[in-house]
Structure formats: structure tokens, C-alpha cells
């Protein structure tokens, strides 16, 4: 029997589903045993990976954000897979979403296998939107496209007097705000990093001012925590909520238990600033590299087997809101009928991944800079123009 040490950062609905997958794998594979550890998402997870690999106590397999590869690969923290290794496990490039696969490939070496594509969506409260006259007959919101329309809609919602906030955003944290900021940036067709320039032009300021306006106008709460941002929505105190697809299970579960008190839906983030675009990232599987204690071939074989199996069974992962990276699954009928995924699945076509840079990625410098400059600016603690300037300067210095 091969024991596999598995680390992930998945909790909430993700965690439940991943645990179920692991259990199923363990049950169906008596020769392999996955011992899973869940660590805290973000900085703590990637710090642990770092230190454990340094002392040769790294896991055999771990989940890894695609956006971090440019940061991770040069530091040698990831172990590349050879073509033979992949082939022997039956992992084929063509079965995976192309954009995602590419992200994990450097110098023709594959450093990780994508598992999903996930993005942010707009959750909405049908009851309230209807009252504000913003709900179409198809049950989808209407009149949200374009910033002016959107803001007018927020006003209308506010005018109903039914909610505290028309739009709940997780305004106190860099990660969440990066996703919104990057989405708004991309909708202007702008890039975060262009060559060695960071945030060229005014797009950054515009995106940030848009967000700051929501907060200062009282549409969105100031500096609230992740949980509170969701709770505002689920408790009916906010009409709309921008968050990752991973919160879909939260809504589904509450609705199922009848605790939600309203009908909900989720759509792609509306086109506010010119072009349809949404931030996206991928979860992937990777193997940490360790000089002191490299992974043994048997374990590697088992690990690849696990990865292949996980992808093949990723339909249940889709129920966590994600879009699987394994094409045979997304092509399946089952997936195509899954709600609300089907409603927003088209966002995959316009998804924008994080910039390919060692500044990018979860728990990377950009996240930190967003925390330090974007968050205060959108909460009115810093002038948006200054914030963008300082962010630019800070990141430039780290480039």
C-alpha cells in the first residue's frame, strides 16, 4: 500500500466535496491511501509548503493555484513531470482546458495538472430585484449592463428600502478585491502588467474609482469581512453579492434547508466598462520539489494516478460551482444541465487569468499590494490616484 500525503487549502463547500472525492478514491483503491491535511487558505498554506519543502517534510501532492506558477516555478518549489510520467498515468494535454494547461507549463515542462477554472460571479436576490423592477421574466436580472445602468440599478434597489446594501462586497481583503479590480480592469481592455510596465494608463484608477464609488455612495459596506459579506446577502440585507463560484454550495445548501428566505441566482459579472471579461484562476495539482527528500517513483506513480482519477471524477467538483478543467467532464450532458453553473459557464470564454508574472498569484506581491493600496482606497482611506501610484511604485520595486 502506498501512503500519499495530501495537502489542500479547501474548506467550506469545496472542502466537503474534496473530502468526499478522497474518500471515494480511498474506498476504490485499496493499494493507495490518501492522508489529507487541510491548511488555511492563502499565505499560511503557501508558507507552510515553503518551509516544509525546505526541511524535507513536504506533502506528496498538493493543491496549487495556477496564478502562482510564475512565482513558484523559478523558486524551484515545484517538481516538473516528465512526459513519460504523464503518459504512464494516462494524462493527456488535449483533455484539459488549453489556457489552464499552458499556465502550468514553463520551458516545455509541465509543473502541475489543472483541476478546474473558477471565477467570480454576481449572486442576486430575486425577490428584491423583482421589487426594484430589475428582474426579467426569465428570472435573470436585467438592466445591469454598463456602469451607469448598473449604478442606477443600485439606486433603485436602495430606494426599495428593503436592504441595507444593494451590493455586498468583501471590502476588507486584498484577495477578494483583486478579483473585482482585475475584472474591471480587464473589462476596459487594459492589462495589469504590460512588458515591464505596471498598470499603464488610467484604467487602474478608473476601476478603483468605480469600486470606491460603490462604497462611498453607501451601495456597498465598508471594510467588512468575508463572512459578513456573504451573511449580508444570505440574510437578505444585501440584494447582490460578488464572490467566487465556490460560494454556490453555500447558497444551494441554505436554499435546500429552506433557510435562505428568498430565491437566488448567479450570473456572470455584467459588462460594466466596455468589454465582457471576468477574472479567473485555476486550482491545480502539483508535487512539491525537495532536494533533501525527493519523492519516490512509486509515490509519484500513485500521485499521478490520483490526479488522473480526480479529474475524471470532477463532475462532483463542479457542484461546488467550479468549471472542471477536464474537458470530457465539461462536455458531458450532466454538466451542461447543472445549475447555476450553466448560467454562468459562458464566462469561461471571456475569462482573464492573472498576469503571468512572479508578482502575481494567490498570496503573492500583487495580492499584498492590493491589500495595502486598493483596499484602503476603495474604503476611502486613500485617494484612488495615489493608491494606484503607490501600488505601481511598490510593485515596480519588486519586479
Amino acid at each position: 500500500q502506498t501512503d500519499i500525503t495530501w495537502w489542500d487549502f479547501l474548506s467550506g463547500g469545496d472542502g466537503v466535496r474534496m473530502k468526499a472525492l478522497i474518500k471515494e478514491f480511498n474506498d476504490t483503491h485499496p493499494d493507495i491511501k490518501i492522508n489529507a491535511t487541510t491548511l488555511e487558505w492563502g499565505v499560511p498554506f503557501y508558507t507552510k509548503v515553503q518551509t516544509s519543502a525546505a526541511v524535507g517534510q513536504q506533502p506528496d501532492i498538493m493543491t496549487y493555484h495556477m496564478s502562482r506558477y510564475p512565482l513558484a516555478v523559478p523558486t524551484g518549489i515545484l517538481r516538473p513531470f516528465t512526459d513519460e510520467e504523464l503518459a504512464s498515468a494516462g494524462i493527456k494535454k488535449e483533455n484539459y482546458v488549453d489556457a489552464a494547461w499552458k499556465q502550468a507549463t514553463f520551458d516545455n515542462k509541465v509543473y502541475g495538472i489543472p483541476f478546474d477554472v473558477h471565477s467570480i460571479v454576481l449572486y442576486y436576490n430575486k425577490t428584491i430585484l423583482k421589487e426594484a423592477g430589475l428582474l426579467g421574466d426569465d428570472g435573470l436580472p436585467k438592466g445591469l449592463d454598463g456602469l451607469d445602468n448598473f449604478n442606477a440599478a443600485l439606486d433603485k434597489i436602495k430606494a426599495t428600502g428593503k436592504v441595507e446594501y444593494p451590493l455586498s462586497l468583501h471590502t476588507d481583503e486584498g484577495g477578494s478585491m483583486w478579483r473585482v479590480f482585475y475584472t474591471l480592469l480587464s473589462q476596459q481592455g487594459a492589462k495589469f502588467i504590460d512588458g515591464d510596465q505596471i498598470l499603464p494608463g488610467d484604467a487602474g484608477v478608473k476601476a478603483l474609482k468605480t469600486m470606491a464609488n460603490w462604497v462611498s455612495s453607501g451601495y456597498s459596506p465598508k471594510l467588512i469581512s468575508y463572512e459578513a459579506s456573504i451573511a449580508l446577502f444570505t440574510s437578505g440585507k444585501a440584494a447582490m453579492h460578488v464572490n467566487g463560484v465556490w460560494e454556490v454550495p453555500t447558497m444551494t445548501d441554505l436554499a435546500k434547508k429552506g433557510e435562505l428566505g428568498f430565491e437566488w441566482g448567479a450570473i456572470e459579472i455584467p459588462n460594466l466598462l466596455g468589454a465582457q471579461a471576468t477574472w479567473a484562476d485555476s486550482h491545480s495539482f502539483a508535487v512539491p520539489n525537495s532536494e533533501s527528500k525527493p519523492i519516490t517513483p512509486e509515490k509519484l506513480k500513485a500521485v499521478l494516478q490520483v490526479i488522473a482519477w480526480m479529474n475524471e471524477h470532477s463532475i462532483s467538483w463542479a457542484s461546488a460551482g467550479h468549471i472542471p478543467a477536464y474537458k470530457p467532464v465539461t462536455d458531458s450532458k450532466e454538466f451542461k444541465e447543472m445549475q447555476p453553473n450553466a448560467t454562468y459557464a459562458k464566462l469561461a470564454d471571456t475569462a482573464v487569468f492573472d498576469p503571468v508574472s512572479k508578482l502575481a498569484g494567490v498570496a503573492g506581491p500583487i495580492y499584498e499590494a492590493t491589500q495595502n493600496f486598493v483596499v484602503p482606497a476603495l474604503n476611502g482611506q486613500l485617494d484612488p490616484e495615489d493608491a494606484i501610484d503607490q501600488m505601481r511604485e511598490e510593485l515596480q520595486s519588486q519586479q
Partner: protein, 274 residues
């Protein structure tokens, strides 16, 4: 003198109000933990409408709380016992036996009192790596074994034991170890309890070091472990509170049971000269 009585009653009420305010966050955490998650955010009531223990069910059966309990207990108890044992012997020798270098040694220990062990995390981490103790109980325990204050406090208390007692024991035929374990230790049982409690609380509550030295959630102590259940998803204030309360429970219950003795023991340490 009725004025005095009214003054005292007012003072009592004031004290009571402050004390209740002081403890309110704990009450609030408990109340939150037994409310249904939706009630938590929907209604701010000081008392739950319905009792709902699903958060506890979750904390107990869907996290590794019991593993973390075990890790915490094993490491904290070991740390406490070993710290007390090695410190008491060292302090006794320093206090009662004349041997060359004793002043120097005591000086070093006194100086170590000021050394922030937290500043040593890097080199201790390196050391644990060399000893191959990362992510093990031993790794958690070892660096917590040196608590110079314990030696210093013991020495002060031993210094103040009347020397006649020691002489009487000597005449009664005791050797040094017997004097220590049959006389000095039981005589200073109060301060031993205090030091053990303090050491235990320190070990149980230690965060930074166990956080650094453990990797897998099977090795984490409870203090570190519960920061790992901070789901990044959904609304689960009640769960967070339930987990927190369960984490605090063993020590809290022990404290409440032995409240008088703990208080008395800890008060002894006020006699320590800094």
C-alpha cells in the same frame, strides 16, 4: 453608619457590572455557538431562541479537534512535568548547595529571563530540523523546556525556607535528594502548583512555535489547529464559536473546578521579586 453601607453597595454593583462586561465576550461566544447560523446574523438577541448544537456536532466530528486535544495534552503535560522537574533540581542546587560556579550559573539563568525565546524560533527550527523533530511531539516540546523564571522563582522560595528545617532533615539522615523531594518540594507545593499551572497554560496556549513546527493537521495542537478550521467559505460564525469554546473547554473546566486553589497558588507568585 448607613452612608458607608450604601457606598459599599454601590461599589459592589459597579464591580459586578464591570466584571460582567469583562466576561461578556465569552458569554456572547457561547450564545452565538448555540444559535442557528441564520439567527446569528439575523437577530441580535442576548439569549438564543432555539438551542441548536449542530455547530458543536460539526466541531467535534468534522474537524480534527480530538486529535488536537490529544496533541495539546500530551505536549503540555510533558512540558509541564519536565520543566518543573529539571528546574526544581537546578534551583535546589543553586539555592542550597555550595559548589563552584554557582553564582555564575545563577547569573546566566537570571540573564536568560530576559531572552525572548520567540526570537530564537529560526535557530530552534533549524535545530529541530537537524534533530529530525519537525512535525513531531518532540519538536513541539523541546524548545519549551527552558523556562528560566521557574528556576528563579523556585530558588527564591527555596532561599526562604528556614535553614533549620534543612538542618533538622540532615540530622534525621536525609541526603540532598531526599531533602529536596521529601521536604523542599512538598513545602513549596503551593508555588509548584502555581508554576505548573502557569507553565501548563503557557504550553497549552503557545501558538507561534507549534504553528511553525507542525505541518500536518494530525500534529497540530489545539491552539494552532483551530486557526486552520477558519473556513474561507460560507457563513459559520456559530461554528467558529463552537470550535473556539471546545478548544478552551478542558482548561476552562479544570480552572472552574479548582478555581480557589488555582487562584491561591497563582497569588503566591506575587511575592516574587523581579
Amino acid at each position: 453608619m448607613p452612608g458607608k453601607t450604601i457606598g459599599n453597595a454601590l461599589l459592589l454593583i459597579l464591580t459586578l457590572v464591570i466584571a460582567c462586561t469583562w466576561a461578556f465576550p465569552i458569554y456572547w461566544a457561547i450564545v452565538t455557538s448555540i444559535k442557528p447560523e441564520q439567527d446569528v446574523v439575523n437577530k441580535t438577541t442576548l439569549f438564543p431562541d432555539v438551542f441548536n448544537f449542530s455547530a458543536y456536532y460539526y466541531a467535534l466530528f468534522e474537524t480534527k479537534l480530538s486529535t488536537w486535544y490529544l496533541n495539546s495534552i500530551v505536549t503540555s503535560v510533558t512540558v509541564t512535568v519536565v520543566v518543573i522537574l529539571i528546574s526544581v533540581m537546578c534551583a535546589y542546587a543553586l539555592s542550597q548547595i555550595v559548589f563552584p560556579g554557582r553564582k555564575l550559573l545563577y547569573g546566566i539563568i537570571l540573564a536568560s529571563f530576559m531572552v525572548p525565546s520567540q526570537a530564537l524560533v529560526i535557530s530552534q527550527f533549524v535545530l529541530m530540523h537537524k534533530l529530525n523533530l519537525i512535525n513531531t511531539w518532540g519538536g513541539i516540546i523541546l524548545p519549551q523546556l527552558i523556562v528560566p523564571v521557574v528556576v528563579i522563582v523556585y530558588k527564591q522560595f527555596f532561599d526562604s525556607v528556614p535553614k533549620e528545617l534543612r538542618e533538622a532533615a540532615k540530622l534525621d539522615g536525609c541526603g540532598e535528594f531526599q531533602i529536596l523531594f521529601k521536604l523542599y518540594l512538598p513545602l513549596n507545593w503551593g508555588i509548584t502548583t502555581a508554576l505548573a499551572i502557569i507553565t501548563y497554560i503557557m504550553a497549552w496556549n503557545a501558538f507561534l512555535w507549534p504553528f511553525l513546527v507542525t505541518n500536518s493537521d494530525d500534529m497540530m495542537t489545539i491552539t494552532v489547529g483551530i486557526t486552520q478550521t477558519r473556513d474561507a467559505f460560507g457563513v459559520k460564525y456559530a461554528r467558529d464559536m463552537a470550535v473556539a469554546i471546545l478548544a478552551a473547554m478542558p482548561v476552562a473546566v479544570a480552572y472552574l473546578l479548582f478555581q480557589k486553589r488555582v487562584t491561591q497558588a497563582l497569588m503566591l507568585s506575587s511575592g516574587i521579586k523581579g
